[in-house]
Structures are given as structure tokens and as C-alpha cells.
């Protein structure tokens, strides 16, 4: 083989990590919910889409009022987080809580229904066309020399996601709520016997997961600069792939799975053909499900009799 084009390689790597961070943020919501109630929340991708839309609406309003761009991005992010948390909380109460004691298929179908509902609700309430998203991320002077590899938006995505994931990790490890969440995931009945209110833990999980997806939504919209009602579908399925890749139920697994998936996609697109980008992600999903269903960091579940 001839010389390796390192510059091109780096470019692909950075773009893979950038995308991977977004997948990881969304994948965390899938994995945390699965860890607690063993449900794949298929409406989760829609929450991410709602985050992007909320950011856009806030940007529109504040833009007219003449706010500075960074301020718009920050406020948009905060509003999206609050709004999407409320959505996550409500979706759980409406679509999953009444089915808590039903067979496992019922909440799954309910999740798919919720996803279709949210997509079409945004399609009707907003528009089905692609909307342009303003560029809210300033040009950082120190990124000038490597601007052909790392765009400012990529930089913001990587830094913000790393920060958010670090905070989440510390939260889960050290806080009272974080410990209660882990306990509920490991043994819901025992957690209950210790006085942990599982309904509250489940709500908290949906709220946190949705907040993370909202951050992802706002970030990705500023990166690709266009959104529509359908962006949650593909991103959701890919983030789900990332969660399975890392080991569904595992928080570090979701982070790792997201980054690995993002890089795989990026390299496949760069070295093979960009037509294969999506196909590659799903090929990974199928291979993982066949050869290592517990994922990279997940533990094989031993069914005790």
C-alpha cells in the first residue's frame, strides 16, 4: 500500500468522533431507560428531534430580539433541555406507566406509537420541509490552524458532550439519586424494600435521558445547520445501535459504543463510499446481535433459576 494519507485519516477520525459524541448522548437515554425498566424507548429519537426544534424556535425569537449568537446557543440549549425533559417525563407517564405490569411487548408497541405520534405532530405543527438552522457557533481563533480538520461546531460538540458525560458519570456514581438509580437497575424489588420509590426513579431516568438527547439535538442542529421532523428516526436507530454495541444497560458502554459507531461510519464513508455509511451502521448492529449480544462492555446476563 502506498503512503497513508494521515491528514485524510485525521479528518475522518475527527468527524467520526464528532458524530459519535452525538450518538453517545442519545444512546445514554436508551441504555439508562433499558437498564431500569428493560424497555427500548423508541420515542427517544423523537425527543432529540424536539430538542433541535426547540433550539431553532428559541434562536428565531432571540435572533429577532438581537441577542448575541453564543447567548442564543446557550439559552436555546437550556430551554431545549427543560422542554425535552418535560416531554420525556410526560411520554413515560402516558405511554409506559399504565403498561408497567403488562407483557413486555405492549410498552414496546406503545413506544413505536409514541414515536410516530411525535414525528407527525411536529410535521403538522411545524413543517415537513428542511429548515435552515442558523450558525450560532463563533469561529475560535485557536482553531484556525487546524480548521480543515476540526470545525468550530465539531469542537463545541466534542467538548460539550465530554463535559456532559463526565458530569453524568459522577452523578451516577456519587449522588443519592444516582445510587438509587443503579440499585433500581440491579434489583428493582430490593430497591423498593429499601424505601426507594421506583416510580420516581423511572421518571428521573426519563428526564435525564431526555435532557441528554436535547443537548445532542441542539448541538447537531448547529453542526449540520438543517433539520426536519424526521431527523430523530435515523439518529435514534443509530444511537440504539450504539447502545447495543456498547452493551445495552451499560452507561460507559453507550459512550464507547457511540464513539466507535461514529468512527466506523466515518471511515466506511471515507474509504469505501459514503453511500454505505448507513448500511455500515446497521451491518454492525446485526453482527453484534449475532456474535456478541451483550455488547462491548455489557455483561452476559445469566438467567438464574
Amino acid at each position: 500500500m502506498a503512503d497513508i494519507d494521515w491528514h485524510y485519516f485525521l479528518e475522518l477520525l475527527v468527524s467520526g468522533v464528532t458524530k459519535g459524541c452525538i450518538y453517545a448522548l442519545i444512546a445514554l437515554g436508551y441504555t439508562m431507560v433499558y437498564g431500569i425498566i428493560e424497555l427500548i424507548n423508541f420515542a427517544h429519537g423523537e425527543v432529540y428531534m424536539l430538542g433541535a426544534f426547540t433550539g431553532l424556535i428559541v434562536a428565531g425569537v432571540l435572533g429577532v430580539m438581537g441577542f448575541p449568537e453564543t447567548g442564543i446557543l446557550l439559552i436555546g440549549g437550556v430551554v431545549a433541555v427543560i422542554y425535552c425533559s418535560a416531554y420525556g417525563f410526560t411520554v413515560e407517564k402516558i405511554a409506559y406507566k399504565p403498561l408497567r405490569n403488562a407483557t413486555r411487548l405492549s410498552p414496546l408497541i406503545s413506544a413505536i406509537g409514541m414515536s410516530i405520534f411525535l414525528q407527525n405532530y411536529v410535521r403538522i405543527a411545524q413543517t415537513q420541509d428542511f429548515l435552515r438552522y442558523p450558525n450560532l457557533i463563533p469561529d475560535f481563533a485557536f482553531l484556525e490552524p487546524i480548521s480543515d480538520i476540526l470545525r468550530p461546531s465539531g469542537f463545541v460538540i466534542i467538548v460539550t458532550s465530554s463535559l456532559v458525560m463526565a458530569v453524568l458519570t459522577l452523578f451516577i456514581k456519587y449522588t443519592r439519586l444516582g445510587k438509587a438509580m443503579r440499585a433500581t437497575a440491579q434489583n428493582r424489588k430490593m430497591a423498593m424494600l429499601l424505601g426507594i420509590d421506583s416510580d420516581r426513579i423511572i421518571s428521573a431516568t426519563f428526564i435525564i435521558g431526555s435532557a441528554l438527547a436535547a443537548v445532542g439535538g441542539v448541538l447537531i442542529a448547529s453542526h449540520t445547520q438543517q433539520i426536519n421532523f424526521n431527523i430523530g428516526f435515523l439518529a435514534g436507530i443509530k444511537a440504539f445501535t450504539a447502545a447495543v454495541l456498547g452493551g445495552i444497560g451499560s452507561i460507559p458502554g453507550a459512550m464507547l459504543g457511540g464513539i466507535v459507531l461514529g468512527c466506523c461510519e466515518s471511515f466506511a464513508a471515507g474509504y469505501l463510499s459514503s453511500d454505505y455509511e448507513d448500511m455500515f451502521a446497521f451491518a454492525i448492529l446485526i453482527l453484534i446481535l449475532i456474535f456478541r449480544p451483550s455488547g462491548l462492555l455489557g455483561k452476559a446476563k445469566v438467567q438464574k433459576v
Binding site: 443519592r176 445510587k179 438509587a180 443503579r182 440499585a183 440491579q186 434489583n187 424489588k189 430490593m190 430497591a191 423498593m192 424494600l193 429499601l194 424505601g195 426507594i196 420509590d197
Partner: protein
């Protein structure tokens, strides 16, 4: 302190408890003995609100608790050490203990209680940063009891604490039961090991296929020919 009146509990359509009547007085150690599948664990789960009653009522200090959520019942001062210990396997010993004190806010007393527990079970202090799942069966049982004690309950429910343990560990666990009782905690002990259980308890109940068939002071039960034959292997 605790009173079960005509309690009937079902699993689906299968009736597990039939008209169970049972009283536990403040300061007592009361035991419920019976064979595997007699309904002993179901009785405890009914008390804790984890299994819903079809009929009957459960009163804790005169207050009906059978309609309460499990976490509210813990708040009233009832803690259970469940069958099989149910340690959180991926959490450290320390975290398991922290979760025992989940509902408590008195940080200073929590630290003091934990010291007391480490005095009772020094091995747990040594294992503090180890994952619960890596502990031996005996250590897990100690941790399960300690976790329940961290909630500082007034009524401690124990489900088969001697199950699968070496005799020396069993003796240690029963010593601890006596000790916490002496310090004022009321204990309700469910056991298949009737011999040990009746020796430590003030009073006992015998359960067969979901019904209470006998009850009385421990020494009376131990002298009862039926009990001797069925449970004491004499």
C-alpha cells in the same frame, strides 16, 4: 406492634395465604416456621407492601399499612432482609450500606451506626470497597442484615437468614439477632431451621400451605410432639 388480621394473598389466581392472623408485640422476637413453600416469604412480602392483599388487613401500631406503597412502609420503620439476600452485586459494600440508609437524613447518626455495624461484622469493614457480588454467602448475609439495620428500623423482618450458611456463621448471625433485639429492636424471624429459630424466639407460629396451624411460646412449641416430629427431626 404489628398485627395481621385475616390476611389472604394471591399470586394471580393462586391463593398463597389463607386467613393469616398473627401478632408481634414491641420488643419481642417472634418466629414463623414452616416448610419450603408454606407461604412464609409471602407473609413478609405482604407486610412490606410488595404483595397485595385480596382480603384482610395489616396494622402497624394500629395504623393500616396494607394499602401503602412499599417505600412508605419502610419509612414507618419496617425493614426486611429478604430471602436470597438480594445484595446489589455491582455496588460496593459501602454503597450497599448507603442504600440501606437511603431514607435517612441524619448524616452524623448514619456514620455512627455504620461504625457500630463494622464492630459487629468487622469483615465488612475490610470488604468496604469490594463489589457486593464478590462476597461469600455468609458475608452477603451479614451485609444484607447490616443494610437493613442501616435503615434503623423498629421492626426487623428476616427471611431465612441461616439458609445455606456454615454452622459457625449461623451462630454468629443468631447472636446478632439476639443483640439487636436486646437493644430494643423487635424482630420477626422467618425460618425453615425451626430448631435455631425457636431457641432464639419468644413466641412462634407454624405455617403449613398458607395457613397458621399452631402458635404459642417457643418452649411450648418445642415441646409439642407434632412440631418435634415435623420440624425438629426428633
Amino acid at each position: 406492634m404489628l398485627e395481621l388480621k385475616g390476611v389472604c394473598t394471591y399470586y394471580g389466581n393462586i391463593q398463597a395465604l389463607w386467613d393469616v392472623n398473627l401478632t408481634i408485640n414491641q420488643g419481642e422476637i417472634v418466629t414463623l416456621v414452616g416448610a419450603n413453600g408454606a407461604g412464609k416469604s409471602t407473609t413478609l412480602m405482604s407486610i412490606c407492601g410488595a404483595a397485595a392483599l385480596r382480603r384482610g388487613e395489616i396494622l402497624f401500631e394500629g395504623q393500616p399499612i396494607h394499602t401503602m406503597r412499599p417505600d412508605k412502609i419502610v419509612r414507618l420503620g419496617i425493614s426486611q432482609v429478604p430471602e436470597g439476600r438480594l445484595i446489589f452485586p455491582d455496588m460496593t459494600v459501602q454503597e450497599n450500606l448507603d442504600l440501606g440508609a437511603y431514607l435517612r437524613r441524619d448524616t452524623r447518626n448514619i456514620a455512627r451506626d455504620q461504625e457500630m455495624i463494622f464492630d459487629m461484622f468487622p469483615i465488612l469493614a475490610k470488604r468496604r470497597t469490594q463489589a457486593g457480588g464478590t462476597l461469600s454467602g455468609g458475608e452477603q448475609q451479614m451485609l444484607a442484615i447490616s443494610r437493613a439495620l442501616m435503615a434503623k428500623p423498629r421492626l426487623l423482618l428476616l427471611d431465612e437468614p441461616s439458609l445455606g450458611l456454615a454452622p459457625i456463621i449461623i451462630r454468629q448471625i443468631f447472636d446478632i439477632i439476639r443483640q439487636v433485639n436486646k437493644e430494643g429492636m423487635t424482630v420477626f424471624l422467618v425460618e425453615q431451621n425451626a430448631n435455631q429459630a425457636l431457641r432464639v424466639a419468644n413466641r412462634g407460629y407454624v405455617m403449613e400451605t398458607g395457613r397458621i396451624t399452631l402458635s404459642g411460646p417457643s418452649d411450648e412449641l418445642m415441646a409439642n410432639p407434632e412440631v418435634r416430629k415435623a420440624y425438629l427431626g426428633v
